[in-house]
Every structure is written in C-alpha cells, then in structure tokens.
Symmetry: C2
Subunit: 256 residues, 2 copies
C-alpha cells in the first residue's frame, strides 16, 4: 500500500468522546505531524468556531491549529460565497455559524434575505423558526449545516440539526441543501483546502452513516474505527464497506 | 333533502376570519338554535380553552357555550383517557392543551411519562423538544393534536403544529398519532358528543384538506364554503368532492 499523502479526520468518536481523548488519537496525529502529512479535522458540529475546536484538541494534547479544522458552518459560509458573495443571511445557530458567516463577509439580517441557513441552536425559539419559514417562502436559498437527526448526550439522543431543520422543510414544502457529511459538498471543500486529490487522501471516521458514506460518496478511500457510533457488529451488514477498518487507531500507525 | 339533525362546524374560515365574524355566520347559528338542531364547533386549534373560544364567538354575536366546542386538545385528552386514565403526560402546548389534560384528570410531568402530546406552542424551546424526544424514546405514547404544517397569520404562513411535531418524529423515527382533522378520530368524538349518527349529521367547513376530508373519512355528508382556505378554483380538481358547496353560508339557510 502506498502511504496516503493527506488525511481527513472526524472528531467526535474518532479523536475524542465528550471531553476525553480516545486512545492513540494523540499518537496518530503526532505521527502525521512527524511525517509532514497534512491533515484536516472535519466535523458536522456547527456550534463551535475553529478556534474553540483547536483549543479543545490542544488541551487534550492533540496538535491542531484553527486552520486544521473544517466545520459545517465554515463549509456553509464558503458555499454561500460561491453562490452569492456578501449575501444577506438569516441564520439559526450558535457561535460557530455566526462567526463563520461573518468571516466570509456575509451580512446577518432579519428580513429580505438571500439565504436562510440552519445550524444547531440550543436557544431555538418559535419566532426563529417562523422567521426562517417566511424567508424561505419569500425565495431565500435554504441551507442546513447538516442532516444529523440526533445528538448523543449524557441524557440520551437529543434532537439534532436535521430534526430542527425539518420544521422549515415540512412547513414550506421546500427541501434544504445539506452541507455536512455524508454530502460530498463538504468533502470537496476539504480536499480543496488540503490541496490534495481524492485518490491520495484517506478519510478516517467512526460513523458509517456520516463519515464513511461521505468518503464513499466523494470516491475516497476510508478508514473506519470502532470507537464511536457504529459498532463492529454492524460491519457485516454494511451495504458498501469502508476500504479499511480498525478497532483502535494504533492498528493503523504502521501504515502512516 | 331531509334536513340534517345535527351540525359539526369548523371555526376559522367558516365562522370567522381572525377577529371578524364571516357574513351570515351569526344567522346560520341562530337558525340552528331556533330549530333546536344541536351543533358542535370543531377546531384544530389546540391553544385555546373551550371557555376562551365560546367567549370569542359570543363576543361576535354567535351563540356558543363552552360545551358546544370541541378542540383537538379536548379530543387528545379524551383519547388519552381511553388509553390510560389518569396518565402521566409530558405536553408541549398552550393554555388549551394544559387545561384539557387537567380537566380529564391527567397529570403533567417532566419524566417517566406514559404519554407525550404535542400542540401548538409559541413559547417552544429546544429543551421542550429534547424532553419530548427522550420520553418518546423511552416508550411514551406519542400524540400530536393536529398535523397542520402552517398557520396563516398577518405575516404569512408560519409553522403549524404538524411542522413542530416533525422535530420529534424525525429525531426518534416514530410517527405520532394525530388527533385533529382530517383524522376520523376527532370526528368520532364529535358524533359521540352530539349523540347523533353520521348519516344525519352534516360537517361544515372551508378547508378541503382538513375539514372536508375529515367528514369524508368519517363517512359523513359535507358542506364546503368558499370563505376560507380552499378557493372555488380548486373545486374542479378535488379528488373526492364535498356533498354540497356554497359561496357563503346564507345560501344554505333554506336547508336548515
């Protein structure tokens, strides 16, 4: 096997679980850094900024600068720029989304918007949902950072951004463009940011339905690790298998 | 035509629009009362109590006592009683829903619930939605007062209860039992409350997709009036026609 020239790596369930780093996550990234292999952390989390995520990883001893992070919020803001630079945006979301939109030069507004973009918002209100519906009905481009229907927390499975977005799609009858994994849109941006081609880049993740499918949809090789959402027990029934799988990341170290 | 012995009558778009009574609504109800024909107002509105709705109608000069009103909240509370008397309920909704649940002897609780019931709530929060998802995952019976995906307001089409409910159905993968029109469940309760049979009871409403279909599903005769949601222009393409239609309610007065 020719070593891969770049890595796209999921975070939750692959590098850490909650506030705890996963075994060998640090060693994995250290080896990439030692071999000067570029890597990009790719997350469907729309709530945090690049800086917040880099700080969290650094705190765990996992090497990361803000530019090593691509969130669905950043990807959404870049996608909007491709459609309409300096767009007038109505957004539902948290710090990560508003920060990304401003960084890309978009304006946040409450009416006559070009774009409606929905991200995870724990301060969601009826008024915010209503405003989004009205703007979408008035013709705004309808985006959603990701389609994840649940978020695993210590309480159980709480509603994810895909479930919140359904209020607007069900009410308006219009489907959003989803940005995050498993859509290939965010993978194209990841490859562009790394500057490598898909044939020489490996996607690493724990969640078959988001991470691995994103890699498969983008035509990339994939490495599945059983430290997160998808258990090994599901492997035999997976319709399209990942290129490789490991129980923990140390098994992959000899191939870096 | 043998005169009908009882009437089930929709409110919004049939008796009033917003705070204004519709033409001949008062005369229509006056003639029913003069002929001692029982009538029941049936609304998918889950927010208001029977008393609040009766007061609104009386204020417009339309004769109504609280017992002449059946809301989806009342119907939901009665349905829960049939499944589990004195149920422990988690509810998202406004006055009308909480009032109805208490009147039927149910307990409002935040965990270990037998039933989750969703009604329109303009004070919706993420925490409320999250709690509902957790309770449904834990096995609570999942009800929704009605499936209306929009509410027409002066601002446009705002999200209705059916759209809010989708957060929970999309997130948990479980479909709710909808109580309100066009489901026949609420029609069965209406007939039971009137004490008449469906062959001799007429359903009157303006909205084909809720009112008229509810009547058709219940096997009742229906009178459609073009003063609300469904315009006359849609009539030719309606898959199953109402039994009768009028432009305004005065056209029906001779048949009462």
């Amino acid at each position: 096997m020719t070593p891969y020239q770049a890595y796209v790596i999921d975070l939750d369930g692959t590098m850490y679980r909650g506030d705890e780093p996963l075994p060998f996550a640090r060693a994995f990234v250290d080896k990439l850094a030692a071999k000067h292999i570029p890597y990009l952390f790719l997350t469907n989390n729309s709530s945090r900024t690049q800086e917040q995520i880099a700080a969290k990883l650094e705190h765990m001893g996992i090497r990361c600068r803000p530019e090593n992070v691509l969130t669905t919020s950043i990807a959404a803001a870049i996608f909007i720029n491709q459609q309409k630079p300096g767009a007038r945006c109505y957004a539902i979301g948290e710090d990560g989304l508003f920060d990304a939109l401003k960084k890309e030069g978009h304006r946040i507004a409450g009416d006559h918007c070009d774009v409606v973009v929905i991200g995870m918002d724990r301060d969601l209100t009826y008024e915010k949902l209503s405003r989004a519906c009205l703007e979408v009905q008035n013709g705004a481009l309808f985006l959603s950072t990701n389609g994840d229907v649940t978020i695993p927390t210590e309480r159980g499975l709480e509603p994810g951004n895909g479930a919140l977005t359904s209020v607007i799609s069900v009410s308006t009858g219009k489907d959003p463009i989803f940005i995050g994994k498993p859509e290939s849109l965010i993978m194209d941006q990841a490859l562009k940011q790394l500057g490598t081609d898909k044939a020489s880049t490996l996607l690493v993740g724990d969640n078959y339905d988001t991470d691995i499918l994103a890699g498969i949809h983008a035509g990339m090789d994939t490495l599945m690790v059983f430290t997160g959402v998808t258990p090994y027990e599901r492997y035999p029934s997976l319709p399209e298998k990942p290129t490789y799988y490991v129980n923990q990341l140390n098994e992959w170290l000899p191939h870096i």
